[in-house]
């Protein structure tokens, strides 16, 4: 475990004296949710699993606490929230607006700013890029609490470049803890606002040449002996959103050879417009539309990573991946996210074999059933 914090159960406030304020993903893991939130912790856990994720670092909940403390706004925030009714959305939005503006207008403590700037500089050097474009996203500590899903309530900002912009968006992420809905939700569930904490992840944008998703169980049949990979040129958005029919590969999990291969006509792909810092959809040139969007070697490496991830988590997984065009082959395949697969995992699978397990009984019942002609 690379985590600095080993006692995961500690509430964030208790970490104050020992925990770092900024830490690299390599130092995160499944036990550091309280420090770096669910998203960053799972990225750290993927690194522990031995797979490559785009490098980055987190402003920890301890850093967040320092900011809130030194910004001197805690009393004001408490006052704004006092006596609110969680069903009165208008009032909640009003308070949210005021709190978020407050948070976004306060400077970070110098110490935090230096830590972030230094980490960002190191990240740029590591990626061989001046002012490496990063994703800045909030990583909530309560994300994984059963019945208290905050996922999606916090913000993600993509293609952010330069220290100033990074810091600006870090603050915006922090303020997302105080959206009207988040406030209402906490009130309803009885979580004290002051005990909620957030971490912010700053991660290199994978400048994907090709990207997609993969499953360590066959989504259609539940077959656990395969890894199914969907791929398209550009960012994974086109695959995740279903905008294109991606190339599809079925890889044998045991031997890692490709057993099925479907090359589709891929008409669009997503790439970044660096001026607007936005992902844009572009038409794929006709001559490339029917070309396989990923090499066989890359498929093999992805499948190998998927197998490792599944083994690490001990369950079928649903994984987002990208191949970065800025980095050389051999070091350019990245795992962006890995979640437990839910559909097949929740289904108790039996083959419908008879209650008896003797070979003879199976042979007889199979003979009686016969082989269907197709």
């Amino acid at each position: 475990m690379g985590s600095i914090i080993s006692e995961a159960a500690l509430p964030w406030a208790a970490l104050d004296s020992v925990a770092p304020k900024v830490c690299s993903f390599e130092d995160c893991g499944k036990d550091s949710v309280q420090l770096v939130g669910g998203k960053c912790a799972s990225l750290g856990e993927l690194i522990n699993a031995g797979v490559r994720v785009p490098p980055g670092f987190a402003l920890t909940t301890r850093g967040y606490a320092q900011f809130m403390r030194e910004a001197g706004i805690q009393a004001e925030v408490a006052a704004l929230l006092d006596g609110l009714d969680h069903e009165d959305m208008d009032k909640l939005e009003e308070a949210s607006h005021a709190i978020r503006e407050m948070i976004e207008s306060r400077p970070l403590p110098i110490e935090l700013e230096d830590l972030i700037a230094e980490s960002y500089r190191k990240l740029s050097v590591r990626c061989y890029l001046p002012a490496v474009p990063v994703a800045v996203r909030s990583s909530a500590t309560a994300e994984d609490l059963p019945g208290a899903s905050f996922a999606g309530q916090q913000d993600t900002y993509l293609w952010i470049r330069g220290v100033d912009d990074v810091i600006h968006h870090v603050r915006r992420c922090i303020s997302s803890l105080y959206t009207g809905r988040a406030i209402a939700y906490r009130m309803k569930m009885g979580f004290p606002h002051e005990q909620v904490a957030i971490s912010v992840g700053i991660q290199k944008m994978a400048n994907a040449y090709t990207a997609g998703v993969m499953f360590t169980v066959h989504p259609a049949t539940g077959d656990r002996s395969v890894i199914v990979i969907d791929a398209n040129f550009g960012f994974g958005e086109s695959v995740v959103s279903g905008e294109v029919t991606p190339d599809n590969f079925v890889v044998n999990k045991i031997t890692l050879d490709i057993i099925e291969r479907t090359i589709s006509t891929k008409e669009i792909c997503h790439t970044v417009d660096l001026k607007t810092q936005k992902s844009i959809a572009l038409p794929v040139p006709v001559e490339r539309q029917n070309i396989q969007s990923i090499t066989d070697d890359e498929i093999g490496e992805l499948a190998w990573m998927a197998k490792k991830i599944e083994k690490h988590y001990g369950r079928p997984m649903d994984i987002e991946w990208a191949i970065d065009k800025n980095l050389p082959a051999g070091g350019n395949i990245f795992i962006l996210q890995a979640r437990p697969e839910t559909i097949w995992s929740n289904r108790q699978k039996t083959t419908g074999a008879a209650s008896s397990t003797s070979a003879m009984d199976y042979i007889v019942s199979s003979l009686l059933a016969g082989k269907r002609l197709s």
Binding site: H218, T221, D223, R224, S225, V226, V250, N252, K253, I254, T255, D257, I258, I259, E260, R261, D296, Q348, K349, T350, T351, G352, A353, S355, T357, S358, A359, M360, Y362, I363, V364, S366, L367, L368, A369, G370, K371, R372, L373, S374
Partner: protein
């Protein structure tokens, strides 16, 4: 699925073949003059057994079809009582064999058969190893009888000993009797052939079936890999060649052995070497029985054995000598094969999600491993060893017929049915005894000429893959295995049959038999003799391969066959060598020509013709 009516197909007689029916037993004909039988034939699903019969049957070679028609059906229906199915019925159209499993339709009857099957088949599964050991003794005794069987020539005057010993029988009588014995030994050998085979197939096919239920995407090759690395004697002949290569190097006769293309030249040259005799003795020892290995499936008289053409094993020995000199290991990597088998089995097993399924998997895998050696080994005893000796005994019969003017050439005998040969032999011996000319000397030669023409026309005809009415399910184990190898590609296969111009095809599909992708030049080898032309690094394209082709695999980088499933010889050997194979393509030797550049993808089963 809708298929043509058999009688409509048969009604369209190929011009010039009218009367072909007399070349085969009458019960093989689709009929129109018997309403009841006609209706049964129309309501039944018949499919072309292209796996065993890629070519039209010679009248004599029909013997093995009749032999398995009987043996398979009796074991299913009268001995083990497979519950839902009786036997497998046979028909012939234009020389091609169509088969159909006969179901038991009444559920009550099926139910009544279940306990019989459980008891009888259960006994075999339970006592498999012991019964198999008995089988081996019976089989070897049958082969010994065959080898000892004398096909006597007819003397002008019988030996004096016939008189002095009071024998009381003539060579004419012995010829008739021993011909009968020869045929009967063949039929007996095929009785034994099926003693274990259907039960073996059932264990095997339902293990595959269960594994595919657990893992719908599992490639068949991975299932078969779980049963790989078990010692079977089908590899022994090739191992003998390797030993002879090593011995040649050790005795320093490798220069001589590798120095001539013709066996006779090697043999002559060995006489001049001080260790020549020692190596020759080892060679002779290996020949019996191991060179009784057919260069084809052994099902047809055209399949000759290594003993029939010693240039074939010589070429293999030369290949291995070359490898040894180059410092390449030639032994089969059995340890690696077993280690990979264990790894793959354990990984799949670990993915099984509940204990009950895991237990079932273990049981079925254990059963499949038990039956596996028989499923492989019977081939050596029956199709290779017995058949190779048998065909040559038949050639001895043919030589006598030729001597008496009944046929123009020894190889003409295959155009006669075995009962016609019996008749002809009566004709010969009575005429010999009497001192007159056999009647057949005037009738058989023109009939044989006509039959040769008919056979040629049959070869040019494409048999439809299936005829009649398809049932929803097939319950006969042997047919399931056969069907398993033809079913998936039935429609592709039917489509290719229709393609008139082989040059227009740029992609072929078959069974993904051994993973990996390579590109390289094609070498089409239609028979084991052709493998002498193989160059290092070529892709072998063959109708099918058998263990007698084994040395070829040391040279090639991929293999493609017309016929065979994932358990075929080519598939198994390629997996061991770790080279791609695509098998059961149906037509690759018709479409691919030597020198074309191919891409063979053994994981997906696709062969692309890159440059013609």
């Amino acid at each position: 699925m809708k298929f043509p009516v058999p009688h409509d197909i048969k009604a369209k007689t190929i011009p010039g073949t009218e009367g072909w029916e007399r070349m085969y037993p009458y019960q093989y004909q689709f009929v129109t003059d018997d309403p009841q039988r006609n209706q049964y034939e129309k309501d039944t699903f018949w499919f072309y057994d292209g796996l065993h019969y890629p070519e039209p049957l010679y009248p004599f070679d029909t013997i093995w079809d009749e032999a398995w028609y009987l043996a398979l059906s009796q074991f299913n229906n009268r001995i083990f009582q497979v519950p839902p199915v009786r036997g497998v019925d046979h028909r012939i159209i234009n020389g091609y064999v169509y088969i159909s499993p006969v179901p038991v339709k009444d559920p009550a009857e099926i139910g009544a058969r279940v306990p019989n099957f459980m008891e009888r088949a259960g006994f075999y599964y339970k006592n498999w190893d012991e019964l198999e050991a008995k089988w081996k003794v019976k089989m070897e005794a049958t082969i010994a009888e065959l080898e000892a069987l004398e096909i006597p020539r007819l003397p002008d005057i019988e030996d004096l000993s016939v008189v002095t010993d009071g024998v009381g029988e003539s060579k004419g009588y012995h010829l008739l009797k021993n011909y009968d014995d020869l045929i009967n030994l063949g039929i007996k050998c095929w009785q034994y052939h099926f003693e274990f085979l259907n039960l073996g197939y059932a264990a095997y096919v339902f293990f595959m079936d269960f594994t595919q239920k657990l893992f719908p995407s599992i490639p068949m090759q991975r299932v078969t890999q779980m049963i790989s690395g078990i010692d079977v004697i089908m590899y022994r002949p090739d191992d003998e060649l390797k030993e002879l290569a090593k011995k040649a190097v050790a005795l320093e006769v490798d220069g001589i052995v590798a120095g001539h293309r013709e066996w006779d030249d090697v043999r002559a040259a060995l006489d001049g070497h001080r260790h020549g005799a020692e190596w020759l003795a080892a060679f002779e020892k290996a020949r019996y029985p191991w060179f009784n290995i057919s260069s084809g499936t052994g099902w047809f008289h055209t399949d000759r054995s290594w003993n029939d053409n010693l240039n074939i094993p010589l070429d293999g020995i030369q290949t291995y000598i070359g490898k040894l000199r180059a410092g390449v290991a030639i032994d089969r990597p059995m340890e690696a094969v077993r280690a990979e088998r264990e790894r793959i089995t354990a990984e799949y097993r670990a993915l099984i999600e509940n204990d009950e399924d895991r237990k079932q998997f273990d049981e079925l895998l254990g059963c499949a491993k038990t039956v596996f050696p028989y499923v492989e080994n019977h081939l050596f005893y029956v199709e290779h060893w017995f058949h190779s000796v048998f065909w040559n005994k038949m050639r001895e019969v043919a030589a006598i017929m030729k001597e008496h003017g009944m046929i123009a050439d020894i190889e003409d005998i295959w155009y006669l049915r075995r009962d016609e040969i019996k008749q002809a032999l009566w004709d010969v011996v009575t005429a010999w005894a009497t001192g007159v000319t056999p009647r057949g000397t005037a009738t058989w030669p023109p009939e044989i000429e006509w039959r040769k023409g008919v056979m040629q026309k049959f070869r040019d005809w494409n048999p439809p893959p299936a005829i009649g009415v398809a049932p929803e399910v097939i319950q006969e184990p042997f047919t399931i295995v056969l069907w398993g190898v033809t079913n998936n590609s039935l429609s592709d296969w039917a489509a290719v049959q229709d393609i008139g111009d082989p040059d227009s095809i740029t992609e072929l599909k078959g069974f993904a038999a051994s993973p990996g992708t390579v590109e390289g030049p094609a070498r089409v080898c239609r028979s084991a003799e052709d493998i002498r032309d193989l160059q290092e690094g070529e892709i072998l394209v063959a109708p099918t391969t058998s263990p007698s082709w084994a040395p070829a695999f040391a040279k090639i980088k991929a293999c493609v066959t017309d016929v065979g499933g994932v358990m075929s010889h080519a598939a198994i050997v390629c997996r061991e060598y770790g080279m791609p194979a695509v098998v059961g393509t149906g037509v690759s030797t018709r479409v691919i020509r030597t020198g074309m550049t191919l891409r063979v993808d053994g994981s997906s089963g696709v062969i692309s013709i890159i440059t013609a």
